[in-house]
């Protein structure tokens, strides 16, 4: 019997080694897998390479992981924010390496990894600093930049509901990077608000099919205000 449910966030992340590449889902707080990040902090893995759109907000989640000095390098599109003080401090101190990637290129590099694509040409960033040193090609009337996939050892994802096969649904804009990160990582670990029996998720509404998911942990949802 396939059963991807794991008892706790700690159990789901016990095997993360030092130096792992870890994708962390979320756009700001929407989709941020806080329970999994807290478990990763407690687990103690160091020298991590993190992939996220941002570089942490305020003092919790990814910001707390950076504050705990576990992150060697981060790939993201928008690190600098009003409340990114832990990243800002680490970056200015030279303690963290930044690979700045345009947001769509970040998404497509993650997608490419999960889809088995070796590289792709994108028009984004052509003629800018972020394309310096990269291979370019003129195709038809446009100029393109060659970009490579981003593979990960782990992806930490927050979804809404899951069954024991790992089929997932998401909630509103908290879907953001979940489906593509789940496919791009060797081991995708998902925290959900609710676990359900097989068959309870309408197959027409499954967003991430279970083949992309290795481990699922139920984490009680905070009290949610109506949308």
């Amino acid at each position: 019997m396939i059963n991807k449910f794991v008892a706790s966030p700690e159990a789901a992340l016990a095997d993360v080694p030092d130096g792992a590449t870890v994708m962390i889902h979320g756009f700001g707080n929407a989709g941020m897998p806080s329970a999994l990040i807290n478990a990763l902090i407690a687990q103690g893995a160091r020298e991590l390479t993190i992939v996220n759109n941002n570089a942490g907000n305020a003092d919790t989640g990814l910001a707390a992981l950076i504050a705990a000095k576990r992150v060697r390098k981060i790939l993201c599109s928008f690190p600098r924010q009003a409340d990114s003080w832990h990243f800002d401090k680490a970056y200015r101190a030279g303690e963290i390496e930044l690979e700045l990637v345009p947001q769509g290129t970040l998404a497509e590099r993650i997608r490419a990894a999960g889809a088995g694509i070796g590289a792709f040409f994108t028009p984004t960033a052509y003629g800018t600093k972020l394309a310096e040193g990269k291979e370019t090609r003129r195709i038809g009337e446009r100029d393109y930049v060659l970009e490579y996939p981003i593979h990960a050892d782990y992806a930490l994802i927050k979804a809404d509901r899951a069954d024991r096969w790992g089929n997932l649904t998401y909630r509103m804009s908290a879907r953001n990077f979940g489906p593509i990160m789940a496919a791009a990582a060797k081991i995708s670990v998902v925290q959900v608000s609710e676990t359900v029996e097989l068959g309870e998720l309408d197959p027409e509404h499954v967003v991430t099919p279970g083949i992309f998911v290795k481990r699922v942990v139920r984490v009680a949802a905070p009290v949610r205000k109506a949308a």
């Binding site: 756009f27 700001g28 707080n29 929407a30 989709g31 759109n53 907000n57 599109s77 928008f78 690190p79 600098r80 924010q81 800002d88 970056y91 200015r92 930044l98 700045l100 990637v101 345009p102 947001q103 769509g104 290129t105 970040l106 998404a107 497509e108 993650i110 997608r111 994108t122 028009p123 984004t124 960033a125 052509y126 003629g127 800018t128 600093k129 972020l130 998401y170 909630r171 509103m172 804009s173 908290a174 879907r175 953001n176 990077f177 979940g178 489906p179 593509i180 967003v207 949610r224 205000k225 109506a226 949308a227």
Partner: protein, 216 residues
């Protein structure tokens, strides 16, 4: 001469967005355009994080942290709206499905080069977000910015001195003084604020402008 304030600039841009358009609004000043879209036109706002049909701010107390815009502000979803993941969201952008991207800028060049992501300062932490994707991907790129810097220098320049977001990508510039189209043969003034004459706009801008016969 009456310079437009930020709300008037947003209203001026909003007036030009037609029925049925799919539009992405950049963070900051462009986001204000949403408040001035003419009632009765169905215009669909796209947000990079995975929303089509972004609606107005929720009522106080009705915010949901799973529903926010690219600026991480709480929003609502219009009836008929949709959610999708990031790769699909940028396929919409890069794949030329959006009719308009409305972006802020530090500088725009006479050739339509856009600089809006990085001052290039040694101590500045760079952040780009979706700006470079929008610059190359939207069918029309509209820029909204003050015409002059705080020091009175034109933000429309011969060559951008800040790092580029995209080359030759801007179609139209809306400032607090004028509306200017970027065309292969140069900059065409489409509209000016009340009380501003073309010679004065030309003097303030410092780059060659052409005057459309229809411009006031």
């Amino acid at each position: 001469m009456k310079k437009l304030d930020r709300k008037q600039m947003a209203a001026r841009v909003a007036r030009d967005i037609p029925e049925g358009a799919y539009v992405n609004l950049g963070i900051g000043l462009p986001t204000m355009v949403a408040d001035f879209l003419p009632k009765g036109r169905e215009i669909i706002l796209h947000s990079e994080n995975g929303i089509l049909g972004v609606g107005p701010k929720p009522a106080p107390g009705m915010e949901d942290e799973d529903l926010m815009n690219a600026g991480k502000e709480p929003v609502t979803l219009l009836t008929g709206g949709a959610y999708f993941h990031h790769a699909d969201s940028f396929a919409m952008i890069r794949g030329r499905h959006l009719d308009f991207a409305i972006l802020g800028a530090f500088q725009v060049s006479v050739a339509g080069d856009l600089a809006n992501w990085h001052t290039g300062g040694a101590d500045a932490i760079p952040a780009v977000g979706g700006a470079m994707d929008l610059a190359v991907g939207a069918k029309k790129v509209l820029v909204m910015m003050e015409h002059l810097t705080k020091n009175g220098e034109s933000k429309i320049v011969e060559r951008c001195t800040y790092p580029l977001t995209g080359a030759r990508c801007v179609d139209r510039i809306y400032t607090d003084l004028a509306v200017i189209d970027v065309k292969p043969d140069g900059l065409h003034v489409v509209d000016m604020v009340e009380g501003l004459d073309f010679q004065e706009l030309q003097r303030l801008s410092g780059v060659p402008l052409k005057r459309l016969a229809s411009a006031a």
